[in-house]
Symmetry: C2
Subunit: 204 residues, 2 copies
Amino acid sequence: MNTGSNQTEPKRRGRRAGGEDTKAALLAAAREIFVERGYEGATVRSIASRAGVDAAMVNHWFGGKEALFAKAVLQVPVDINALVDRILDGPDDEIGERIVRNFIGIWDPIGGGQFAAMVRSVTSHDQVAEVLRGFFVGTLLKRVVAHLAVADGELRATLVASQIFGMGMVRYVVRFEPLASADVETMVKAIAPNLQRYLTGDLG
Amino acid sequence: MNTGSNQTEPKRRGRRAGGEDTKAALLAAAREIFVERGYEGATVRSIASRAGVDAAMVNHWFGGKEALFAKAVLQVPVDINALVDRILDGPDDEIGERIVRNFIGIWDPIGGGQFAAMVRSVTSHDQVAEVLRGFFVGTLLKRVVAHLAVADGELRATLVASQIFGMGMVRYVVRFEPLASADVETMVKAIAPNLQRYLTGDLG
């Protein structure tokens, strides 16, 4: 993966009227840089430089690299770092429940079209899958594994990812009923214990 | 959904040299008819008629409507009806294990590109998602629910679908490690108990 450490950024400096211009420029630059360099290789500074704005603008408008990635690549207006904080904060034996509540809380209002668009993007472009993989390994997986401090942390995290991905596919894309219309409490009761087993249970 | 009961099929009769022609014509006709009429509305007779061949050719070359659907729409060379037979045949408390073994046994040799293509097709075309939904509800779901005779059979079947879909996404499309390269026994130990809970366990 190209880390781009010695590359010169094309400058696109110029007067920008307001915040919307800056945000749009940062999103466009982020999509380019993430795909070019992977999640780990993309730096806030390189993205800001390509957008022609100061690096402080990334934190100002998005709160950091994770949130910029979420908005630019996943197209979800969520600060992933803050989301992981919310999920890990609380009793460990209720992490599964917090994952289901947060996932549905984020995606139900956004709607299935956008989830389908995200999956389509991942299945159509190997680079997007690669960026997502880098993001998952470098951020989500590391934090969950460090927090739980259990054996097979990496396998556990990928198992959780599999159930979450599939829940999104069935609820928002292929819309198999009754799961697609099930209320949050039904979803939590059905799915949270399975996630919990992946996270802290006996995997055999 | 259009059942097409009163429609006249365009005839494309003509001499066909061998079996490959007939198979190709049936696959093309099947894709059209399944998308036009949905899974339930598509009949073997209407597909054969559009392909310009005798309906007996469907059974001869594919074994039936389910297998033709699998090959034409899912692009998997599997007789789904026979697959469900294999999964349901045996102790009920090992259905989860048989699902994992069969799924991996089918998809590992085919490879991730084809799974990605199937998911891309489902996420890109509402009609394909609709056909898949009809197939799932009309075939898989009905058979599993009838076999298990448990409460909430429909919800259970869709929960299983969510885990299976997600397993395919993580193993073949985004390829998160170590799940993507885990051997069959690791996958069975990790995932089968979760499927089993969806099928026969307490959903709360």
